[in-house]
Symmetry: C2
Subunit: 91 residues, 2 copies
DNA sequence: TATATATTTAGACAAATATCTAAATACTTT
DNA sequence: AAAGTATTTAGATATTTGTCTAAATATATA
């Protein structure tokens, strides 16, 4: 099993959850702390933390510590892999 | 919850499995019967049938009965929804 | 009509997933 | 140093998922 296939697995797994897709939609607009992200959902902070971990493992987001906050940012370049796969279906 | 979001859920759920993505890759090349698809994998026919059902519910494939065979075809138009969503991440 | 072939449905089960609460870690402020 | 804030880790649990075998359904052929 190639690294490419593992990456695709991680990406599709990460995208297979409405909450995680919404998190990406939020981060598309601006960087946010874990707490700010959690505040946007009726889900506990530990659960959001877990979702962030899955997105991070898929390389869809990155994080940077800023004092006591952890700021999450979207990594749009990884979407290119999915985009390319999708494009193979265009005729 | 909108119909759009349900559709996206079904699509991402369907794509979140390497076997199902491979089935789509096969059907990209040509229409195949359920048996021909099953022959391409080391998975039982009932399991493949279940995968086909999930792909069909997501509208990613269509099926047509031809005698005792059921021929599956890819529906590329539904990929447009995913494509559009992915494209919102391009800067 | 009986038998063979193609596919799905039903039911079971182990593994993966999303969620929670409680506790731990790390940083900031008083 | 103690208390407060931000976040994650740990552990538990209910639900979902992928797989299997056995049985049912539908079509074709002898």
């Amino acid at each position: 099993m190639s690294k490419y296939i593992n990456a695709m697995n991680d990406i599709f797994k990460a995208l297979n959850d409405a909450t995680r897709r919404e998190i990406l939609d939020l981060l598309k607009q601006k960087d946010l702390s874990a707490g700010e992200i959690a505040d946007a959902f009726n889900i506990s902070k530990p659960s959001i933390s877990h979702h962030l971990d899955i997105l991070k493992r898929a390389d869809l987001i990155t994080s940077e510590k800023n004092g006591q906050f952890i700021i999450y940012s979207i990594n749009t370049t990884i979407m290119e892999d999915v985009l390319q796969w999708i494009l193979t279906f265009k005729q």
